[in-house]
């Protein structure tokens, strides 16, 4: 029981964090068709900005400025780089952002070195929110979850209830019509890209204070956010939320479970046979927990490429 409750709590929070990072990516992809490879690197940028500003001014200033700086960086990237290569096609844009990811990571390493930096939450947030089965549950995890939920509500309302949201959604489907109606489409594109980057930056500033902040944080996340976006359905914010929660729960449960395919086959009396073969059959679920998201992504891509909530390919 204890295991299940703690796993669910951790999984939900981890999933919400994943959602914070991937929400921007799915918006950008759904609208512009650009699969922004550098997205997780904006998350990393946010964490380092948060770290720097926490040292200079304070945690909350960092939390406020990290999305702004990441958003500005995103706007510049869209305006001066992506727009330039737009007419070469989407593969070219993907490659460009891929090179960009390299550059962002290396510039950050240039200033902060190869080691982890100690980005810490303020001391007054370092307390246990509640105690469950003799385990103290840190308040900061709840804080991260709350920020993510706030972000989701904000995004959802923005996209479905406001004029800006209508234009953005319309531009996803009929960009030329939107332009013909007199809206500045390049500006909308730049805004979405900047907004998506800003969300990643905010996620970085919030999560960096809890999880380790280091040069590897983007690589670790980089492919996982793709999984979320693909599984959730490209362009769907709700799909991204569901996929994030699914993957977060999946990882947090499988980390603690020591079952293998052989154990499973044992239920049918084939356990000894599987154990003799060894290899894949005896790998513990906990050791291959990291492979599971990719397996899921593979299945979704092959069976239902539009994803859970996507409606077109």
């Amino acid at each position: 029981m204890e295991y299940i409750v703690v796993s669910i709590l951790n999984g939900v929070v981890h999933g919400l964090l994943l959602f914070m990072v991937s929400a921007g990516l799915t918006l950008i992809f759904g609208m512009m068709g650009v699969l922004n490879f550098a997205h997780a690197w904006f998350y990393m940028l946010g964490a380092y900005v948060g770290f720097t500003l926490t040292r200079l001014g304070g945690f909350w200033i960092g939390l406020l400025l990290a999305p702004i700086i990441a958003g500005l960086a995103g706007a510049l990237v869209e305006r001066y780089m992506l727009r330039r290569v737009h007419h070469y096609g989407h593969a070219h844009e993907l490659l460009l952002t891929f090179g960009l990811a390299f550059i962002i990571e290396e510039i950050i390493k240039l200033f902060y070195g190869d080691a982890l930096v100690s980005y810490q939450m303020p001391d007054y947030m370092r307390f246990a929110a509640f105690t469950i089965f003799e385990t103290n549950y840190p308040f900061y995890r709840l804080f991260m979850g709350a920020v993510a939920i706030g972000m989701f509500v904000f995004l959802y309302l923005l996209l479905t209830r406001t004029r800006v949201g209508i234009i953005v959604r319309a531009a996803t489907y009929r960009p030329s019509t939107v332009e013909a109606l007199g809206h500045n489409l390049p500006l909308v594109f730049m805004g979405v890209f900047a907004g998506g980057s800003a969300l990643a930056g905010l996620a970085g500033a919030v999560a960096g204070a809890f999880y380790p902040t280091g040069p590897n944080m983007a690589v670790d996340f980089g492919t996982l956010v793709f999984v979320v976006v693909v599984v959730g359905g490209l362009g769907s914010v709700v799909g991204a939320l569901i996929a994030s929660l699914m993957i977060g729960l999946f990882i947090s449960f499988s980390v603690g479970l020591n079952v293998s395919i052989a154990d499973l086959l044992g239920l049918f009396g084939l356990g000894n046979w599987a154990n003799d073969i060894g290899g894949l059959f005896t790998l513990q679920l906990s050791t291959i927990a990291n492979s599971m998201p990719f397996l899921l992504m593979l299945l979704v891509l092959l069976i239902r490429p539009a994803g859970l909530m996507g409606d077109r390919q």
Binding site: H87, L96, E106, K109
Partner: protein, 433 residues
């Protein structure tokens, strides 16, 4: 005429590669071996990417599988289970590469474009995350190692034996791939890239064709991996990393995916670049990323594209008009590069822990730092004047060089339309997307 010229060029290149080991130090010879392997990898990758338009983000999977297959074969020989001549070990890599290429390719080629890239990425990541936990096949986190066995009267103890082995396989594979592009299936690959629907209407089974092309690309990727295993005698799961897949993409596009030999050129150049600069500076990945992004922005067809553009467009003797303008471009670029390198390396020195310790010892003062064998004061006027002057001179010269080159290009090609003025680095058209 141009075919004869190409043949002569290839013959000269081969002759140089063949006699090179006589003059190279052991270290450099090793570098050339790695360059050839990287070039072969890039050529194989381009077979799928450049020819058939399948952007694979997980080619390291087949590269790594080829390497592990070769190592297992060599280990079996070493344990005297059976005999297998060392020079033929890459065949194992080829077989495994083709096999997995066919299976994974069958899955991946059901999708196109970005979705195809995602499937290949997922497959490679699956292998990357599985490999360190699967001890019997991939040797856990430490990987597996072995020794090259002697065969055919060759000991394969020295680097020069490995060099000629790699060279032979490189030449054979490159020739096979070139011949493939001329074969009906190779032509079909081009058609698939340009318009898959039409190919399907013509009655071809496009899924099978794409799978086959992908598998052949993986076959040669496996050869490259096996050659790497022979050269290093060891490997571990990091060979599957997204970084390794990324590298070949980078190198191929720097070289130019639209031409046949461009990727090989790019891979060899970047491998050499990495080899040289990684000894000199820790920021070499930054420079590599900058080169990649600049090429993506200004010369989307890559180095090979630039070369082939000149070969196609220049009228006879036209290069005489371009010689001086290109020299001017170089003169404009050098101060820019110099200024950038100075800034990056200065930041690099100042942000190290060693420098922080020095500052702390000096009571927080900005103490002098060493760079390029000189001492600089961080707040001194010369320290700031050097990069500012270099960058200033460069950015003044650059627009001038651009104009001069654009004018010269017109002269050199005459009745050809002028290139886009933005594309200073390449002087080429966005001919195809």
């Amino acid at each position: 005429m141009s075919q004869a010229r190409n043949l002569v060029l290839i013959a000269v290149g081969l002759a140089i590669l063949a006699i090179m080991p006589l003059f190279l130090s052991a270290n450099l010879m090793n570098a050339v071996i790695k360059m050839m392997i990287a070039a072969l990898f890039a050529l194989a990758f381009t077979l799928a990417m450049g020819q058939a338009g399948m952007l694979s983000f997980g080619h390291a999977a087949y590269y790594g599988l080829g390497a592990f297959a070769a190592l297992h074969l060599m280990r079996a020989v070493e344990m005297k289970l059976f005999f297998f001549p060392t020079p033929l070990v890459p065949i194992a890599g080829a077989a495994i590469g083709f096999l997995f290429g066919a299976v994974f390719g069958w899955l991946a080629t059901q999708r196109t474009g970005v979705y195809f890239a995602m499937v290949t990425l997922a497959l490679a990541e699956l292998l990357f995350t599985l490999a360190p936990t699967w001890n019997s096949v991939f040797g856990g986190e430490s990987g597996i190692s072995t020794m090259r066995g002697a065969s055919w009267g060759l000991s394969f103890g020295s680097d020069s034996h490995v060099y000629y082995l790699t060279l032979a396989w490189f030449v054979i594979s490159a020739w096979c791939m070139w011949a493939f592009t001329k074969s009906p299936l190779g032509r079909l690959a081009l058609a698939l890239r340009d318009n898959e629907h039409r190919v399907r209407f013509l009655g071809f089974n496009t899924h099978v064709a794409r799978t086959l092309i992908f598998a052949i690309s993986c076959l040669f990727t496996g050869v490259a991996g096996a050659l790497l295993a022979i050269a290093n005698e060891a490997t571990n799961y990091t060979i599957f990393s997204a970084q390794a897949s990324a590298n070949v993409v980078l190198q191929t596009f720097i070289g130019g995916a639209g031409t046949f030999f461009g990727p090989a050129l790019g891979a060899a150049t970047m491998t050499f670049f990495a080899r040289v600069t990684s000894d000199l500076t820790r920021s070499w990945l930054l420079y590599q990323g900058l080169i990649f992004v600049l090429i993506m922005l200004f010369a989307p067809e890559g180095l090979g594209g630039i070369v082939s553009l000149h070969a196609r467009k220049l009228r006879p003797g036209g290069w005489r008009h371009l010689l001086l303008p290109y020299l001017l471009c170089l003169v404009a670029a050098l101060p820019l590069i110099g200024g950038l390198v100075f800034v990056v390396e200065s930041i690099h020195v100042i942000m190290t822990d060693a420098y922080f310790a020095k500052r702390a010892a000096a009571g927080g003062a900005w103490v002098a730092y060493q760079l390029f064998g000189h001492t600089f004061e961080p707040l001194g006027p010369t320290t700031w004047a050097i990069p500012i002057t270099l960058l200033g001179v460069g950015s003044l010269l650059l627009p001038m060089a651009r104009r001069v080159t654009a004018a010269a290009w017109l002269l050199a090609t005459q009745d050809q339309p002028p290139p886009s003025p933005r594309a200073m680095l390449s002087l080429q058209h966005p001919s195809r997307s």
